[in-house]
Amino acid sequence: MIYALVGNQNSGKTTLFNALTGSNQHVGNFPGITVDQKYGVIKGTNDQVVDLPGIYSIRPYSSEEILTRDFIINNNPDAIINIIDAMNIERNLYLTLQLLELRKPTVIALNMMDEVKANNGSINIELLSELLGVPVVPISAVKEEGISELVRVVETTAKNRSIPKVYDFCKPGPVHRCIHAVSHIIEDHADAAKISARFATLQVILDDQQIKNLLKLNDNEVEAIRHNIVEMENERGLDCEAAIADMRYRFIEDVCSKTVLKPKKSKERTRSINIDRILTHRYLAIPIFIVIITTIFWLTFGPIGTYLADGFSAVIENIIAMIETVLTNYGINQVVKALIVDGILAGVGSVLSFLPIIIVLFFFLSILEDTGYMARIAFVMDKLLRKIGLSGKSIVPFLIGFGCTVPAVMATRTLPSHRDRKMTILLVPFMSCTAKIPIYAFFTDYFFVEYKALVMTGLYFGGILTAVISSVIFNKLAFKGNPVPFVMEMPNYRLPSVKSVILLMWEKAKDFIQRAFTIIVAATILVWVLQSFDSRFNVVDDASLSILASLGKMLESLFRPLGFGDYRFVTALVTGLIAKETVVSTLEILVPAGITSVLTTAGALSFLTFTLLYTPCFAAIAAIKREIGSAVKTMGIIIFQIAVAWAAAFMVYLVAGAFI
């Protein structure tokens, strides 16, 4: 059996999924787009449950909604588990009605019933179940109450293929007449297309092109439908969209008035209002946000992160050293040893070196998300971010980007829209990451001893400025059209669940290793080969004779307009793709006399600008490919970054050349 888990955002869907499956879950990608497809086996059964994205409606507007709808229609799960927040039942039932129209075996998991009871509210479960025509099981996902009962009911419902008994939500009147007239027209078509006639009717009335195409209506039928809709709109005095929403909410209000005794104001809500007096306070909100995010940043890239990373890399280095000793004692061929140690192991080491940061950062981020603070960040920062065509939540990946691009790109997963995600992924690499600091330090030591701070600050702001300019251009060109509306639910503050925090950390770490391993290790080996051999595949002692150096020489002319048309700098930039720090070590080897001998001051500024903006590193590329979900688009992003870096470095070189 396969079940689909569907529900609103903030309904406790992920918590229920975790409760159902324990740690037995896998993350895949829905084909084509990078929305997580989480699936797992329900504990104690052989049944699979698929965690679909949190949505408010299955109108096909966002990719999450399309995906949910297509999954239910095409994959035909044996049952739908619809999770509902009992504290917010009216709005949650809106999606439920749409699901019921699909006419698939459905069970409602009424979550947070414990909160309803604790606040002296009550819900008549039996009556609710009768009025909606499907089984309703009260649960508490957080406390894992009612889960086994839910599983039992879902299994029975799936086995008996029990279709929802109720699907007619309208009272006699113009809307009712219209729905029935249209339903009559399309019924045969819907049967032929194997979709629920009821669902198809409403989608056709709401002008859903995808469903219309599936139904293959003829011109007469289209005209008859249009006529019915116009008549209904005139009689009802509302356009069809408002009329249908009104019809559904009227039904919901009626059901709720019969079954729900609402608590006046819940303890949780009161607590949230009190917390928000401070956290979204007019003057305090932004300073508090800065303090919180700086603390997280500092802990991740400062004490905790560094401690873990140092310990971790010490272990890795020890292991590598041990293997090296073993290989040396064995008397293995030097080249093979170098391949293993400098190629393969170095690659593996660099994949692993990202783990501490990812784990620590996602520990904090999942707490921000689970407590509900992330929604406050979106609320507080929205206006600022909207100036560059993004929404409030994007601020988080941007700030993380100053630490490391890899987790920053990974953190875009929680952004509400695909447009926001893509644009944030494109712009995040312009935030100067900590790995670039050694390069800045190296160059400023040589060229700008007196203006060290100024140059560094300039670079950071240069990155931000590039991101802002790029976003303005993107808004005009690639991403024009509708920015996604900001209509966001503000959840109550909650204590994060230890289980979901740990699961998320584990999931992110595993995901990164699985997805990034091949790219990073393969790329590291490739660069090692290019560095270690000459064009006839003889081992080179002199780095200036390697294939990489020859390639660098071929590319020299491309970089001449930037003031560093020297293969040594080009080589350094290529090795910098393994890890930014490598730029320095490569230059130290290739230019033993010190870089002032081969570079002008303007050239140094230009090189720094290029370093700031060009493709971060293989790990970042791997993360971007993972999130964008397309190798072609990832290539496009890489080309875009290099082009921007080139253009900016060129301008810096021209301007600096004129003044210095």
Partner: protein, 75 residues
């Protein structure tokens, strides 16, 4: 008047939802339909977006979207 003009702490009944396409549908689906009671809770530090309650939940929307919602204040 429109929802963006409603003062903090004041309640109103929605009379009409303007706009078009996805945005309007989203507003309707979230329960902002004519006849629904809303209350403005607060505004963000930069005055936009605003936080409102309706149907016993809390929603945040931008002023731009609030302008699309016509309301009648409840005294």
């Amino acid at each position: 008047m429109t929802l963006d003009q409603l003062e903090i702490g004041k309640s109103a009944i929605i009379t009409k939802v303007n706009g078009n396409g996805t945005l309007r549908c989203r507003l309707l689906e979230m329960g902002l339909i004519p006849g629904t009671a809303v209350e403005v809770v607060k505004t963000a530090p930069l005055k936009d977006p605003i936080e409102i309650t309706l149907r016993s939940y809390v929603l945040t929307i931008r002023l731009e979207e609030a302008q699309l919602i016509e309301v009648q204040e409840v005294k």
